[in-house]
Amino acid sequence: MPMGYEHLLIFSGICIATWLLVIYLVPRLMLSIYKRAALSQGFGDGPIPVNTLYTQPQNLFRDPLTPLPPGSSKLMNVGTNRDTLYVVGWLDLSRGSQVLHVPDMAGRYYSVQFTDPSKNINFAYVGKRATGTYAGDYLITGPGWKGAVPQGMKQISSPNNAVLVVGRVFVENDNDLSTAYNLAKQIQLSPLNQ
């Protein structure tokens, strides 16, 4: 082997590895903004603790131009829809499984989207399309979880311990806002075995 060809090997190896890594990491880097928004900045009422859900306040929906306190994330009122109230949370299932409770939505459109933040794919849905609008409890378990699913609950297996949860509850119009908010507020998480 002539002198210097090892440089081509090193260069090519590093180049291909960087190429693949960057492409692979794009969704993760993008959703890390959402992680930071939820867990460090919050949407106007301070950071959202891990494994809890935050409901978009009514005044922010009524007038999305309402100024937010400094330091809070604008992700909930810039580039978003004005059709649904948002419910947002970040899960860490390594601390234990979580139970998602949804109230009876009485036919109202809503959805709760479970996103794997390492890939930006939605591995499960609860909501009008996916599960209907009756009240229900869903057990959200991390990878490798072993145990018995309590009676009356359906299991949602997450491929990752980190989960981004985005809920959307339809608001018909301004007169419907408080009804929609009260329902959205009842979409809640609690730890299993409590």
């Binding site: 260069f11 180049c15 829809n81 930006n120 939605n122 009008k128 985005v166 339809f170």
Partner: protein
């Protein structure tokens, strides 16, 4: 994906390819160091990654543009490969829904390709029976050049199936997109800012006609 951006991406791609060809066929390898191999490998790898995602996004059928409206079918689905997942970030920032739950289109240009601006008046015409088919609802939302909601006297930030659009006599629906209220058509007015703006069209639980790409969003047309 503007033309300027296309030129930039092409330039990055050309520089990377030029560098690799020069290194492999014309460089004096004996004078190289491992340090430069690593640094240049990272830089070129990064450049190629950016170009790859852009090129993948522009392949036929990945990111689609019809009547000025841009969308991407199949976002957020569990089987998506890493190139598709990266390309999705070019179009939609954030954790958007799978298509069965909701489809999104956006545009910053009218049907003729001219940038949308509040100095002009626009009309969006849905022929009779051609509102976006769905099993939940649809909406058309206004955003300024920075994607923020636009202040207006009605505090109206979107229009849609439930927000009092009045159909024409023949059953078609016109949406008036302009800065000043259209006399006699206030109920169908989507207030625009004075400057450039973008539009978002959302359809929740879209029908098969949308998912199989049959349904086309009508263009935004400048009124002269």
């Amino acid at each position: 994906m503007s033309r300027t951006y296309t030129y930039f991406i092409t330039l990055v791609g050309a520089v990377c390819v030029f560098f690799i060809i020069r290194l492999f066929f014309f460089a004096d390898l004996s004078s190289r160091t491992v340090q430069s191999d690593v640094i240049q490998g990272i830089l070129i790898g990064f450049g190629l990654a950016v170009v790859t995602v852009q090129v993948y996004g522009r392949l036929k059928g990945t990111v689609t543009k019809t009547n000025g409206w841009t969308t991407m079918y199949g976002c957020g689905e569990p089987g998506n490969g890493m190139f598709f997942r990266a390309a999705q970030a070019l179009v939609f920032v954030g954790p958007i829904n799978v298509p069965q739950e909701s489809m999104y289109w956006f545009t910053n240009a009218d049907g003729a390709g001219q940038t949308l601006s509040g100095t002009q008046n626009y009309l969006m015409h849905f022929p009779a029976g051609q509102l976006p088919p769905n099993d939940a609802f649809w909406s058309l939302t206004m955003g300024d050049a920075k994607n923020r909601f636009v202040p207006n006297p009605l505090k109206r930030y979107n229009v849609g199936d439930r927000l009092g659009l009045v159909p024409n006599a023949d059953g078609s629906v016109d949406v008036y997109i302009q800065h000043d209220a259209p006399a006699g058509h206030e109920s169908n007015w989507l207030p625009a800012p004075t400057g450039n703006f973008i539009l978002w069209l959302r359809v929740y639980i879209p029908s098969a006609a949308i998912l199989n790409r049959e349904y086309k969003i009508p263009p935004v047309v400048k009124i002269t």
